[in-house]
């Protein structure tokens, strides 16, 4: 894990503002998701709902390493990224509620958050389906001659799909400005990575396509930032894609219905010891970037933001039935069969 050592050497390159940004955004993701979990229990949120708790450094570290014109896409575990990018938490929560004020007007729900205002091209529900889309988004940037890139997230389960292999091959062949990120949280639902293949060092899959490929300790937001920054340099300088395996962990079950009986308490505790938010908090104190009081003040702001998001979602109306026929086509007045 060559670049992990490097991380340790260079980690003090980050400013106080960056650490504070990370702390606030990761706390926002954590508290938002804890709240979403509770609301699911109260049946305010329905359907499938996959929480990001434990994986916050993946979105936060990548967010500081990229620019606002870069494009983002991921799978259905998709509440964290838009929050890290600055989407309105009220719109995200309203989407979980299925309200018209939601980011997808209540048509997507938890698995399909989209927010064009922050270049977030969604939340996708077919495992591996977003991988070619991410490469296509990058293709468009290259075609238009911009310096922007696309960062495309997927789970460890998704790398066993054909779409992953077809896409990595073409992305490397065509030197597309894309960063493929595997959020390896150890499990695809109840199936551990080692039960899915003989190849369990997932980053090595990229080597089959000559793609620069690295493992990253994604419990460390600094390590995530550094790896993404390096990959972004490659993408912007015309060298094409990079595959990053973020080694992370989800503290909760796969979705709200999963008690996660396939793993031990000890394993979960082991990861919680490396909690990404605790790490940043310690760093803030150690480097005297923030006092205990200042941290508590951030926590309070985050709490209020989440409460306001819930209030907004609660108070928003459900879509009017007439909305059902809107947004299927870009064309106005498509003649639906309606009887």
């Amino acid at each position: 894990m060559a670049n992990l050592k490097e991380t340790t050497k260079t980690k003090n390159k980050f400013t106080k503002e960056t650490y504070l940004f990370w702390y606030e955004k990761m706390q926002l993701m954590r508290k938002f998701e804890e709240k979403a979990g509770q609301l699911y229990g109260q049946q305010k949120i329905k359907g499938f709902c996959h929480l990001y708790i434990g994986q916050e450094a993946c979105a936060a570290g990548a967010a500081t390493a990229l620019t606002k014109d870069d494009k983002w896409i991921t799978a259905y575990r998709d509440h964290g990224i838009p929050l890290a990018l600055g989407s309105d938490p009220g719109a995200v929560m309203a989407e979980l509620y299925g309200k018209i004020t939601g980011s997808s007007k209540g048509k997507g729900g938890s698995m399909h958050i989209f927010d064009k205002s922050v270049n977030f091209l969604g939340g996708h529900g077919i495992v591996g389906g977003q991988i070619p889309l991410g490469a296509g988004i990058a293709f468009a940037e290259k075609y238009k001659g911009t310096k922007n890139l696309c960062i495309c997230f997927m789970g460890d389960g998704a790398v066993r799909q054909g779409s992953f292999h077809e896409t990595l091959n073409m992305a490397m062949l065509w030197k597309l400005p894309v960063i493929f990120v595997i959020e390896n949280n150890g499990y695809a639902m109840g199936t551990s990575v080692k039960r899915t293949s003989n190849v369990i060092e997932l980053y090595t899959l990229g080597e089959s396509y000559d793609m620069p490929s690295f493992p990253v300790d994604a419990m460390s937001v600094e390590a995530v930032h550094i790896a993404v920054e390096e990959a972004a340099e490659r993408a912007r300088s015309g060298q094409g894609p990079t595959l990053l395996e973020f080694r992370t962990y989800r503290y909760k079950g796969h979705s709200m219905s999963d008690p996660a009986k396939y793993r031990t308490k000890e394993e979960v505790e082991e990861y919680k010891m490396k909690d990404p938010i605790e790490q940043v908090k310690r760093k803030l104190m150690e480097l005297k970037y923030a006092t205990q009081e200042q941290i508590e003040a951030i926590d309070l702001t985050v709490k209020e933001t989440v409460e306001a998001a819930v209030r907004f979602a609660e108070e928003s109306p459900f879509p009017d039935p007439s909305e059902a026929f809107k947004d299927v086509y870009a064309e106005e007045g498509y003649p639906f069969i309606d009887e």
Binding site: G122, I126, G129, G136, F139, E141, Y143, N169, L173
Partner: protein, 324 residues
């Protein structure tokens, strides 16, 4: 008017649109250096270069998805499938991706893409290379499905499809690429969703689309000899369907036969028959008949193909039944 081949009409549509809009590009297997498996894209690499006429590896799932992603991010891709039989490995991207993006994103991301290539049988190619999925795609809200039957329609409809802001499935036929017909030079658009009366008549309506329309036309010519005046309605688009044109014609002729190349169950002909019994029941003088492929895979041997595909003889029989 000059006459050109179906493949040339398609090429003209693509070339003219690529000259007009630099966001339009063509991608697929063998489209560039090989000049197209069926020579539809002949010469396009020379004019537009490898950045806009792009050879892909044999990875339909991957490049269909790359096309959709590019369309979400501002481009207007034309993705060629060597045939739609091979689109099945990409159908997830089309149904779960292209057709859903606009809706799931609450209108934030539309997908202006054309998937085009041949559909249906093309000689003795046996079961995996001779299938019609028009009704499969037409079933899915979020898509539009265009199936032209002659070079003139092909050019005008392809230009409309490329300019359309929604995903369009555009289906051709290997057996039609060499067909010649009058095609104007330069730009003209045929709107998606509008049927065309290919032959006016008063006694019976024949509804068809795509290459099998020729069977309906040949049957109509035969019927004329027997003093039966058949009206032939070319749907041209099977999503959306121009129901009004069909109903108008049936109101005039009071008899309907549908000729379609696909399998019978849950086909476009089932849909038309439902619609006509629902909205023109009182105008029908006989039960609707249809001629489709038999409910079987298409085999290799010519004698078996003869049994299975719709043909003029079966169409004439169907017409005789509704004329009784």
């Amino acid at each position: 008017m000059r006459e050109i081949q179906f493949r040339e009409a398609l090429r003209e549509a693509m070339v003219e649109e690529m000259r007009r809009d630099k966001n339009v590009f063509l991608m697929g297997e063998e489209v560039a250096e090989y000049n197209g498996a069926y020579k539809v894209s002949q010469g396009m690499l020379d004019e537009f270069g490898p950045d806009r006429v792009i050879d892909t590896p044999i990875a339909e799932l991957g490049f269909a998805g790359i096309g959709i992603g590019a369309a979400m991010n501002g481009l207007r891709p034309i993705v060629e499938f060597m045939t739609f039989n091979f689109s099945l490995v990409a159908i997830d991207q089309i149904i779960n991706g292209a057709a859903k993006m606009m809706y799931m994103s609450g209108g934030q991301y539309n997908v202006p893409i054309v998937f085009r290539g041949p559909t249906g049988n093309a000689g003795q190619l046996s079961s995996q290379h001779s299938q019609n999925f028009e009704n499969w795609y037409a079933n899915c809200p979020g898509l539009k499905v265009v199936v032209p039957s002659n070079p003139y329609d092909a050019k005008g409809l392809l230009i409309s499809s490329i300019r359309d802001n929604d995903p369009v499935i555009f289906m051709e036929s290997e057996l039609m690429y060499g067909d010649k017909g009058p095609v104007p030079e330069g730009e003209y658009l045929i709107p998606i969703g509008v049927a065309d009366i290919k032959r006016a008549g008063t006694d019976v309506t024949l509804v068809s689309f795509g290459k099998i329309l020729k069977v309906a036309m040949a049957a109509a010519a035969e019927l004329e000899k027997e003093g039966i005046s058949a009206e032939v309605v070319d749907l041209r688009t099977v999503r959306p369907i121009d129901y009004k044109a069909v109903v108008e014609s049936v109101k005039k002729t009071n008899r309907l036969v549908i000729v379609e190349e696909a399998w019978p169950l849950a086909s476009i002909s089932s849909e038309i028959a439902y619609h006509v019994q629902r909205y023109a029941f009182d105008y029908l003088d006989a039960p609707i008949q249809r001629v489709t492929s038999k409910d079987l895979p298409l085999p290799y041997a010519p004698t078996l193909i003869e049994v299975i595909l719709p043909n003029v003889k079966r169409t004439l029989q169907a017409v005789k039944t509704v004329m009784l």
